[in-house]
Every structure is written in C-alpha cells, then in structure tokens.
C-alpha cells in the first residue's frame, strides 16, 4: 500500500505541483491547423456519406493529417524524424478528430502503436510512422482495459521457417475487435509466450486475414485479425514488451479521453445552436427552462471532463507517477460526459435527431463506443478504487 499512498499524495499537496491545465499557444495553433483540415476535407456530412458507403478509413485525409501536418510524428523524437512533441499536443489533435468524428486511424497508429514502439528505438518503424509513410496498429482488442494482467495472449508462437531472418517467429491465432487494423501496414502483435515478445507483422503479408466487423461506431472500423503461420519480427522482449503494451493501452485510454471530450463539446455546440433556432410555441425551444437546465448540466459535465482530460495528457507527457489515477479519472469522466452530451443531443434535437440523415447519430455512436473502448467508465472507476485505497467490502 506504500505505492498507493505515494500516488495519492503526488502532485497534490504542494501548491506548485499542479500542471498547467490550459492550452498553450502552440497547442492552439496546432488545433487551428487540424480543425481547418478537418472542416475542409471531412465535414460531418462527408463522414455520413462515407459511413453510408461502408465506413472505411479516409485514406487521403489520414495522409494529410499524418504526413502533411505531421500529426503522426508528434510523439516521436526528432532523431527519428518526428516532432518531439508530447501527449499534450497529441491530445489536442484527438479533441479535433473526436469533434469531427473523423475516419482516421490517428489514435490507434499515432498514439497507441507509436507509444508501444517509443521505447524500442526501432528506427525503421519509428521513422516510417513519423513520416506518415507507415500506419501501424496494436493487435489487441479495442475493448481491452489498460492494466489487464494477461499472460494468455491469443496469438501462439511457432518456430521459424527456412530462410527466416534470425529472431523471427511464426505467429498463428485470431485477435478479435481490433481498431485501426484495416488501415495498418504493420501490426504489432503480442505473442503468447515466456518471455512476452511483441512482434511486428506485415499486415498485407501472406497468411494475414483481416475480417471487417460491423462496428457500432462505423467511423472507427474494427476487424478480427487472423494470423496463420505469419512471420513476426520481435521489436520488444520480456519486461520491455510488457511495458510497451501497458504504455500503449494507458496512453490510448488517456488520449481517448480527450477525443471523448471533443465529441462531447461538439454535441453540446450543435445542440445549443439548434435550440436557439428551433421554434415551437412561438418561442425558441432553448428559452424553456427545462431545456436550459439540461444543457447547463451538459456544459458542467463537459467542462469538468476537459479538466480531467488535460490533467491526464499532462501526466502522460511528463511520466508523472499519478498517470494511472489521471487516466482512470479522465477516461471515466470524459466517457460519461460524451455519452451524456450525445444522448442529450439526440433528445433535444427531437424528431430530426433520430433520423439517419442528421449527423447526431454519428456522434452518439462514436461517444458510446469510445466510452466503452479501452475500459468502460465503470472499470476505470474500479481501477481507481484500488489506486487510491478505497477497498471494496471484503469478500465483495
């Protein structure tokens, strides 16, 4: 329990320890550029059309975001061709992709897979990711809770075949519900063995089958990934591999909190605009106190979620020991806020909000799906209870 107490006190008792939870000027500039691109290339009407057409990733948009704007390399240091920025900047981009419900594998490639590789120093992969030439995905189900203690990964390790490079193993098995897999050039696959190894696999190679799922959130395609004796090159081994996977899931959940905040803010903005315009009983419906109070509650939830998401991004950026607490708080708060805001968006739009033609459902599905991905709010609160020494009833 010593570590628990340390983490509870960290950053909280001395007044100077609270990180800056505002946005810096540089972060606001980055936001403006990303928002401009998304407004131009991916308005919600275009996202809806894409979903209608089958909901695949928007490859040209992803290239523009990843390569032209350099968002794929935010977390990668300059020696590997990245921007040497931090999770604070990465989270700002996520806010914008959330607001736009953009169909890009930003979270899965530029945040999660990239985080997994940061400690490996794998120059080829990091260089490719930083330049936007390569897109990667971590082959772990998108529902996985960070800190999931499993030694039973679904992919088995087989011996190399003749002609395989040294260290290569042959991988077989199926990982279900992977986000970003369809857009990926490289899959990062944890193999089921001791020591744990994380392998890089050519996503388009022989023996790799990616079966698209019908996702609740069609703006973020999911797939089952089946490997059948596929060569995997180890990129991390043992404790390094475990750390890489854990860091990727934690950073994914933390940055997803910022994405959820973005979704929530978009829903609130759309709803406020609508109730100012929509007239019933010869008044804007937004003048009725019953609606105003509901929107005030959404605004409060959104405002609180932003503070939590900024704190998580700040902790991730500095490797603060409070990061597990910060991420659990942020993911739970932002998940709940986004779902509240999206559900109120549908409700307060009335009949039009329930139609397929109105984009509210895109945001509802993105909010609900993302709130459950990488750990539901309830699971994150349960993790929090353990982290801050609030034990459950004994035997419960």
């Amino acid at each position: 329990m010593t570590t628990t107490k340390d983490s509870r006190a960290e950053g909280t008792t001395s007044a100077g320890a609270m990180p800056d939870l505002r946005y810096s000027d540089a972060e606001e500039q980055l936001r403006a550029v990303v928002r401009g691109l998304l407004a131009d290339r991916s308005p919600l009407t275009a996202v809806l059309a894409r979903v209608d057409a089958g909901g695949a990733d928007d490859v040209p948009l992803w290239r523009a975001l990843a390569a032209d704007l350099g968002c794929a390399g935010l977390l990668i240091d300059e020696s590997h061709g990245g921007a040497g920025a931090s999770y604070r900047e990465a989270a700002v981009v996520a806010e914008e992709t959330g607001k736009a419900a953009a169909c890009v594998p930003y979270l899965t490639s530029a945040v999660m897979a990239t985080t997994a590789l940061l400690g490996t120093g794998d120059a080829d992969l990091l260089g490719g990711l930083a330049s936007g030439q390569l897109t990667a995905a971590l082959a772990i189900g998108f529902a996985t809770m960070p800190g999931t203690d499993t030694n039973a990964w679904p992919v088995r390790i087989g011996p190399p075949e003749d002609g395989d490079a040294p260290g290569v193993a042959r991988l077989s098995g199926t990982v279900t519900g992977v986000a970003g897999a369809l857009a990926a050039d490289v899959l990062l696959v944890p193999g089921d063995g001791v020591p744990l190894r994380l392998y890089a696999v050519d996503a388009a190679g022989a023996g790799v089958t990616r079966t698209p799922l019908v996702a609740l959130d069609a703006t973020r395609p999911l797939a089952d990934v089946t490997l059948d004796g596929v060569p995997g090159r180890p990129v991390a081994t043992g404790a390094d591999a475990a750390r890489a996977v854990a860091a990727a899931l934690t950073a994914g959940a933390g940055v997803l909190a910022s994405e959820l905040f973005g979704v929530a803010e978009q829903c609130l903005g759309m709803t406020v605009s609508y109730v100012k315009e929509r007239h019933q009983f010869a008044r804007p419906v937004g003048s009725f106190q019953a609606l105003k109070h509901r929107l005030a509650d959404v605004w409060v939830a959104v405002t609180q979620a932003r503070a939590a998401a900024r704190y998580a991004a700040a902790c991730l950026s500095t490797g603060d020991p409070d990061t597990p607490v910060a991420v659990a708080l942020a993911k739970a708060a932002a998940g709940d806020a986004a779902v509240l805001a999206a559900q109120e968006c549908v409700q307060l739009h009335g009949g039009i909000g329930f139609t397929w033609e109105h984009p509210a459902h895109l945001l509802l599905k993105r909010a609900k799906s993302a709130s459950m991905a990488l750990g539901t709010p309830d699971r994150h609160r349960a993790a929090l209870a353990a982290l801050v020494d609030l034990p459950p009833p004994s035997g419960g």
């Binding site: 937004g286 105003k292 405002t303 708080l329 349960a382 020494d389 034990p391």
Partner: protein, 399 residues
Amino acid sequence: MLTEADQAAGLRQQVREFLAGHDPAAMPRLEFLRARFDAGLAWVHYPAGLGGQGLPRSFQAAVDAEFAAAGAPDNNPARIGIGLGMAAPTILAYGSEEQKQRWLRPLWTGEEVWCQLFSEPGAGSDLAGLATRAVRDADGDGWRASGQKVWTSIAHAARWGLLLARTDPDVPKHAGLTYFGLNIDQPGVEVRPLRQLTGEAEFNEVFLTDAVVPDTDRIGDVGEGWRVAQATLMNERIAIGGGAMPREGGMVGLAAAAWREHPQARTPGLHDRLIRLWADAEVARLAGARLRQQLAAGTPGPEGSAAKVVFARLNQELSAFELELAGAAGLTYDDWTLRRPESLSFFGRGPGYRYLRSRGNSIEGGTSEILRNIIAERVLGLPTEPRTDTRVAWKDLPR
C-alpha cells in the same frame, strides 16, 4: 524574463527577510498582520500599496506556506471568508481609492469582519426585486437605509455589511439599485439570529431603520448597484466552490477516511457510490484548478457558477453517504442547542451536521437552479424566458 520558479523563490526570500525584521513570537498578532499587509505580502495578486504586488494569484500559496512554516499567525481566513472572498474583490473593482485605503487593510487583518446584506424575505432568487430603500439626505452628503435583510451569515460578528438597496423605485428594477458599505455598529441596525435547520444560527435577520450611510461609503455610481453586485456574486460562487485544496480535501476526505476506518460498514452499493463521488470530487478539484489558472486578477466570469453547482451536489451526496456509513450513530445528532458560530463551517462537527448544513449549499449564493439559468444564458447564450418584470418601473410590479 524571470521564470515563475524564480519569482516564487524571490517571494519566499522576501518573506524570510520580512520575518527577520518581524518576529511573530515577539510581537502582537495584529501588529504582525498589519506589517505583513504593509509589506505587500498579504495577497500578492492585489496592487502594491494595498497589501499586494500585482502578481498572479498562483504565487500566494508560496507566500502562505513560507509564513506557515515559520509559525507565523494567519488572519484566520475562515472567520473573514466573506470579507476576503466577496467584499475585498468588490471594493478593489468598484471602490474609490479612499475606500480601498480605508477598508482593505482592516478587512485583511481581520480587525473588521464583513457580511453581505443582499437577500430579503421577498427577494431571494429575484434579487433585483429587493425592497430595502436608501433615500438621500436633503444635504446630499449621505443616505438613510430602511428595510429587512435575511440569510446574513455572521452579521452578529460583523463591523461592515455589503448593502444592496433601492435608490430609485421609478425605474426598472435592475436600474434602481445602489451599492454601499454599511456600518453595522449603529442604532439603525438590528441583528437578530435566524435559526437554521441545523439548530444553530450562523445566519441572521438584519433590520435597517433609517440606518446612516455616508455617501463616501457608496461603492460604485448611483444606479450601478446591480453591476457591482454581480462582481460580489461571481466572487462568492468562486469562493464557495472554487477554492484550492489538496486531493481528498473537504467533504470527500472525510467520507474516504470513514470508509477506510470502518471496513465492517462497507456494502457494494456504498462502494459504488463512494468511487463515483471520489472521482467526481477529484475531477471537480482539477476543474477548479484549471479555472483558477485561467483567471486573471479581477472579476471571475459566469463560468464559476459551475464550480458552485458541482460543489453543492458533491457536499450533499458525500455527507449523505457518510451519514449512512455511520450506521447506528447516523441516527444521532451532536447537539441541537441554538449557537451562534463566529465562523462559517461546512465540514465541522459530525456527519449529521454536515448532512444538514450541505442542504444550504445549493441555496446560498444563488440556488443551483438560478446558477443553471446563468450558465444557460450567460455562458451558452440561450434566450431568456419571456419576462414581464424587466421593463416596467419597480414600483409598478405586482408583489
């Protein structure tokens, strides 16, 4: 360009130099506090000459910590919370130079306690409809105030009141108000305890009968009272809901401690509630920290209303949780004796008191319903309800 760390270090050095010349153990408390004020180390975000140095508020913590480490007496902020949190920022924003010089120093040192004379029996949420009249003397040098104020915390210990009064009944209600500092210590002011559902009388009723107010105690212009009152109210909401505190500060810390100390009282349902409340309280603490980071010196905006809405809900739910966790002891109460506390406490006494006192948190300083209106109209820009009361002269309103 000095970094923030350099500036904080410089401030700490200033405090040490001050302490070298002012031994808190060897001089009377009040003299020490006055000297601290005069040295610009009272509230560093206030201007030079008024107890501060014109620095961002975030530096105050370093100064307070340095004084606390030296065992220096503080100004007992819990006793003068209304002065520090509401009167001082209002005087700073709208007071004359003479008023700032006269009022801020004894306010900060605690020599003069302030209270707030806003609410009336007939004007709660509809504060702008208030009926206390202030009438100008024939010579124009002063005013006479008459009426009844209510919900006045700590008036029995106060020397001054922030008085909002009607000076022109012939114009619409928001336009006819003027703001004053009222000397409580005079025959025209009668303070009677108002017993609350907690059993104590932290609040009062204050009856004004031709109370004397020199025109030099008017804060802001005649007819500008509503605008000045907004500054007080915005600061009040920040003061109630937005204070800096460590993780597990306030009510959540009490609830968490009770949970850790009483494993036999735990149930799955209470556990679920506690985790949610703990997380909500910690997120609210982060949101408060972010709000303070955004605040330049001066008047906070309507955003502070959110902090107060959340604070009220959390206090109510956490204290209810704590009471239930207490089991059989939760059926008892410490004392129903009518007392008149000298300072305001949301977290003192037992869980029963905290539960009952917290019901006031969503009423005092603007009900949560009014605050939601403010968020909706002033932050989100939603239209007001159709109103019949804002364009006619106050005297013609039905009541």
